[in-house]
C-alpha cells in the first residue's frame, strides 16, 4: 500500500514535470528565433554604427587573440565601394559588474572608426552610462563615452582621465572599456598589417642607418627576463647600438618591450610592445616609454625615481620599468663584450 502510494506520488510529480518541460520547450522554440534575430540585428546595427560607410560585412579570421583576458568573439571585414575599409571586431572583457561586449572598428590606416557598447552590466546610472546614447562625457560636443574613441589613432595615448574622458564616478568601467578598445584595436591593426615590431628596431635605434640581427644571442642575468631577439644597429659599418625585444612576467600577465641602447650606455628608444595585465595596456601609451629615452642605463630607473607610473597601472608600470632596465643592462654588457 505504502509503496503504491509512493509510486503514485512519483508519477504525479513526473507528469507535472513533463508538462512543464514540454510547455517550456514550445515557448523556447518560438522565442529563440526572435532572440537570435534580435541579436543578429543588434550586431548588424552595431557594425554599421562603427563603419557607417560600409556596404557589407564578411566574417574574417585574420584577427588573432593577443590577450587571454579578452575574448575575441568575431571579426568582420568592412567592405566599401572600393575594397576593404577596415575590420570590426566584437570583443568581450571583464568590467565592474561582469562581462562587457564591444564592437571596435579600425580602418586600414590605423584609426578607430567607432566603438559600440553592445552589452554592459555595470551599475545603472554610473558605469552603465557607457552604453547610454544620451550620456555625454562632453556635453558641448555631445560626445558619448564610446563616441570619443572615434577618429583616435591607435598610436595615441589611451590613459583614462588624461587622453580619455572618464564617465563620472565610474573610473573602473571607463578604464575597462578603454583597455578593451585598445587591445581590440591593436589586434586589428596587427591583422591589417600595421604591426610595429618590424619597423620598431629602426624607431628605437634612430642613430643607426642599418639594423641587422645580432650574431650572438644576448641573455639577461635577471631571473625571469627572457630576451627574445636582439638586433645590432650600425652606422657606416660601425656599431652604434643594439636593441632587444624582451619579455617578463608582470602584475598578472606578461609585458613585452623593445629597448634600444647606444654604445655609451644611453637608452635610445623604448617601445612597450604588449602588456597582458588586466587594465595594464594603458602603459602602451608612447608617453610612458618616452620617459626612458636619453637616460643612462646605470642611473636610477625606478618608478618614483626618474620614471613615473601610469596612474591606474602602477604594478604594470613597475614591471615594465624593471624589464626595460634589465634588458638595457644586458645590452650594454653585450655591447661591451663585443662580437655581436
Amino acid at each position: 500500500m505504502k509503496r503504491w502510494q509512493m509510486m503514485k506520488l512519483g508519477l504525479i510529480l513526473a507528469v507535472y514535470t513533463i508538462v512543464g518541460c514540454v510547455g517550456l520547450a514550445v515557448v523556447y522554440n518560438s522565442t529563440s528565433k526572435t532572440i537570435a534575430q534580435r541579436q543578429e540585428a543588434d550586431l548588424q546595427a552595431g557594425l554599421h554604427e562603427v563603419f557607417p560607410k560600409a556596404t557589407g560585412f564578411t566574417p574574417t579570421d585574420k584577427v588573432k587573440p593577443t590577450n587571454p583576458k579578452v575574448i575575441f568573439d568575431a571579426a568582420y571585414m568592412a567592405n566599401g565601394p572600393s575594397g576593404s575599409l577596415g575590420i570590426a571586431l566584437k570583443v568581450q572583457g571583464a568590467s565592474y559588474g561582469g562581462l562587457t561586449t564591444l564592437i571596435v572598428g579600425v580602418s586600414t590606416d590605423g584609426t578607430i572608426t567607432g566603438v559600440k557598447v553592445l552589452e554592459n552590466k555595470d551599475t545603472p546610472g554610473l558605469g552603465a552610462n557607457a552604453a547610454n546614447p544620451t550620456y555625454y562625457v562632453d556635453k558641448a560636443t555631445k560626445t558619448t563615452f564610446p563616441g570619443q574613441f572615434t577618429g583616435k589613432k591607435l598610436t595615441d595615448g589611451f590613459v583614462v582621465k588624461k587622453d580619455v574622458i572618464a564617465i563620472t564616478s565610474a573610473t573602473i568601467t571607463s578604464r575597462a572599456i578603454t583597455n578593451l578598445v585598445q587591445v581590440a584595436g591593436k589586434a586589428v591593426s596587427d591583422a591589417l598589417g600595421m604591426g610595429g615590431s618590424s619597423q620598431g628596431s629602426n624607431a628605437i635605434l634612430p642613430s643607426a642607418d642599418t639594423v641587422r640581427t645580432s650574431s650572438k644571442p644576448v641573455t639577461s642575468s635577471v631571473p625571469g627576463v627572457s630576451i627574445l631577439e636582439t638586433s645590432v644597429g650600425t652606422r657606416a659599418g660601425v656599431i652604434v647600438g643594439a636593441s632587444a625585444k624582451a619579455k617578463a612576467k608582470s602584475y598578472d600577465g606578461d609585458v613585452t618591450v623593445l629597448v634600444g641602447v647606444s654604445t655609451d650606455g644611453t637608452i635610445l628608444g623604448v617601445q612597450i610592445v604588449e602588456c597582458t595585465d588586466s587594465l595594464g595596456s594603458s602603459i602602451l601609451a608612447p608617453a610612458f616609454a618616452q620617459q626612458f629615452v636619453g637616460k643612462k642605463v646605470d642611473t636610477a630607473l625606478e618608478i618614483g625615481r626618474g620614471i613615473s607610473a601610469v596612474s591606474g597601472a602602477t604594478r604594470s608600470s613597475t614591471g615594465a620599468t624593471q624589464l626595460v632596465k634589465a634588458t638595457a643592462e644586458a645590452l650594454v654588457k653585450a655591447l661591451a663584450g663585443g662580437g655581436l
Binding site: 506520488l9 507535472y16 512543464g20 515557448v27 532572440i35 552590466k121 545603472p124 546610472g125 554610473l126 564616478s169
Partner: protein
C-alpha cells in the same frame, strides 16, 4: 464581485507585500534605479504571480498534499522561464538591465507565499484577483521607489529630463545605499500612516514563512 474586489484591494494596500508583509524585497531595491525597470519588474512579477496562482488554483484538487511544494516550484519556475524568454525576445534592453533578478522571481517569497497560503485553497476567481492585487501592489511600490531614485539620482523620469540642467544628479540615490535609504523612508511613511489609521490598535504581525523561523515547531516546509 464585491468579494473579488476585496481580495484585490487586500493585496494592493492592506497586506501589501513590500510594505506590510515585507517579502520580495530583493528585486524591489535592486531594479528601481529607473522607473522603466521598476514597471517592467512589476509587470513581470504580476504575470508570474497571476499565472501561477491561476494554474495552482485550477489544479488544487489534483495536487497531493505531501508533494505540493515541488509541484509549486515546478509551476512557478515554468512561468518564470516563460516570462524570462519573452522578455529576452521582445524587451532585450530591459531584460539585460535587470539581469539575474528576472530568474530570481522564481524564489520571490511573494509568489511562493501567495501560492501556498492562498491559491492552493481558494477558487480560481479569487486566486486571480489575489494575484493581480498582490502584483499591482508590488508594482506601485516599485514605481514609488524608482521615481525618487531616478529623479534625484539622474534628474530624469522614464528617461526624460525633468530636473533643470543646473541640477547636479545625486548619484548616491542610484547606488545601493541610496536604495536602502529611500526604502527606509518610504516604509517609515507607510508605517506611520498605518499606525494613524489603526489608531493605537497594533496591527497583527503577518507571519511569513520564507524569511523568518515559524513560532511553532510544526514547520513542514521545504
Amino acid at each position: 464581485m464585491k468579494r473579488l474586489f476585496g481580495v484585490f484591494v487586500n493585496g494592493l494596500i492592506v497586506e501589501n507585500a513590500l510594505f506590510v508583509i515585507m517579502i520580495g524585497l530583493c528585486s524591489a531595491m535592486a531594479v528601481t534605479t529607473t522607473v522603466a525597470n521598476g514597471i517592467a519588474m512589476g509587470v513581470a512579477l504580476t504575470f508570474v504571480l497571476v499565472m501561477s496562482e491561476l494554474i495552482i488554483s485550477l489544479f488544487r484538487n489534483l495536487i497531493p498534499e505531501s508533494i505540493r511544494m515541488p509541484i509549486f516550484l515546478i509551476v512557478i519556475a515554468a512561468f518564470t522561464t516563460i516570462m524570462d524568454l519573452e522578455m529576452r525576445a521582445y524587451f532585450p534592453a530591459l531584460s539585460k538591465s535587470m539581469g539575474v533578478f528576472i530568474p530570481l522571481v522564481v524564489v520571490n517569497c511573494i509568489v511562493m507565499g501567495r501560492v501556498e497560503a492562498f491559491s492552493s485553497k481558494q477558487p480560481v476567481g479569487d486566486a486571480v484577483a489575489d494575484g493581480l492585487g498582490m502584483g499591482i501592489g508590488y508594482t506601485w511600490v516599485l514605481v514609488a521607489l524608482a521615481v525618487v531614485r531616478e529623479l534625484l539620482g539622474n534628474g530624469t523620469l522614464l528617461g526624460f529630463q525633468i530636473m533643470p540642467s543646473s541640477f547636479e544628479p545625486m548619484i548616491f540615490f542610484i547606488l545601493p545605499p541610496g536604495g536602502f535609504l529611500v526604502f527606509a523612508l518610504w516604509m517609515a511613511a507607510s508605517n506611520d500612516l498605518r499606525r494613524r489609521l489603526l489608531a493605537g490598535r497594533k496591527p497583527a504581525p503577518t507571519q511569513d514563512s520564507c524569511c523568518t523561523l515559524p513560532d511553532n515547531s510544526s514547520a513542514e516546509k521545504a
